[in-house]
Symmetry: C2
Subunit: 199 residues, 2 copies
């Protein structure tokens, strides 16, 4: 029997995608599931809902809660947490680099390192220097990877991911979609998504 | 040492308050926690966020997801689920009756019965006949309870609950607030709230 698969739709700007990204590999391994990491952009998805920024900025009570809750969630998982000064961040470059990285087999390490820089250390991953530093720390040629990331076909691939996510009904991140099309939204629903994947 | 307490802020119109209301008593008992059930109205809370109806109606992708997810959550818990034709429902009468019921010690049974009528059987609990039927099934004098519910001081008590919830930072339901003021939002965060309560 083939391993059940789960698509993990994530956005580097998404706060709750951070704990999900740090948890998913170990949880999937325990349950014998294969995960496909699918970077996409929330900007167009939010625009379709009439928002020009994160709902956590538009609705202050919700935003205040989210930052507090995220700090608690990270504490519970033993993850470093620093609230970044900039939120949401421009994640286009990091997301494009992630696509290159996944094609070459080091996408998970890169993605976790980006999340750690952003929400563990509070850095601005919208700055190319931050992305370059993450790449260098992974032993990659930063300039080469960023040049590949900015190739037209790679930009298009990210747009296609985003359109595919919208077509699947994704309206926020993190989202998880099983092979039979079941959508689960939120770090809290990761376990339920993995359970569904192996039904 | 006194038992840790947790305030359970719920709204009969709130879909995810249904599984939370059906789960909380057993979970709290297992953990030796005392729960105070606090009915309130989401209408004024949503209005303060610029919404004149449920966000699940305003944002269709989110709404579609919620109904599917709620069905899955209920299935996982063995709870009956029927999507009501009317959503969100007018919950003022039921909420006022709940305050009377809690004052008399049968509030939990009443609240669970209201949720079962609404989301288990798909009934319109905005109709006074539905509330009367729930009361009768619990062996209560429906007309007397509803008359008490509509007394000015009881109406005021519900408004005060709603204001208190807003003052605590509540922006949705279900919400859980510990004695030291920690807020947790969502059925998914009930276990975390109970853990926090007994720290």
């Amino acid at each position: 029997m083939p391993a059940p698969t789960l698509d993990f739709w994530f956005e580097f700007a998404s706060t709750y995608s951070y704990p999900a990204a740090m948890r998913i590999a170990a949880l999937a391994r325990e349950r014998g599931a294969a995960v496909r990491w699918r970077p996409f952009l929330l900007g167009p998805v939010f625009k379709a809902q009439g928002w020009d920024t994160s709902p956590f900025n538009i609705y202050p009570a919700k935003g205040r809660y989210m930052w507090r809750d995220l700090a608690r969630v990270c504490e519970g998982l033993g993850l470093p947490f620093t609230r970044p000064a900039v939120f949401p961040q421009n994640t286009i470059l990091a997301s494009r680099v992630a696509l290159v990285a996944f094609a070459e087999g080091w996408g998970e390490d890169f993605s976790r390192a980006v999340y750690t820089a952003e929400f563990g250390e509070g850095r601005d991953i919208g700055a190319p220097e931050t992305v370059a530093r993450v790449l260098a720390a992974l032993g990659k040629d930063a300039q080469a990877a960023m040049a590949q990331a900015q190739a037209e076909e790679n930009k298009l691939a990210l747009r296609k991911n985003t359109e595919e996510a919208q077509g699947l009904g994704v309206f926020g991140a993190p989202s998880f979609v099983t092979a039979d099309g079941e959508l689960f939204w939120g770090n809290d629903r990761l376990e339920a998504a993995l359970e569904w994947a192996r039904r």
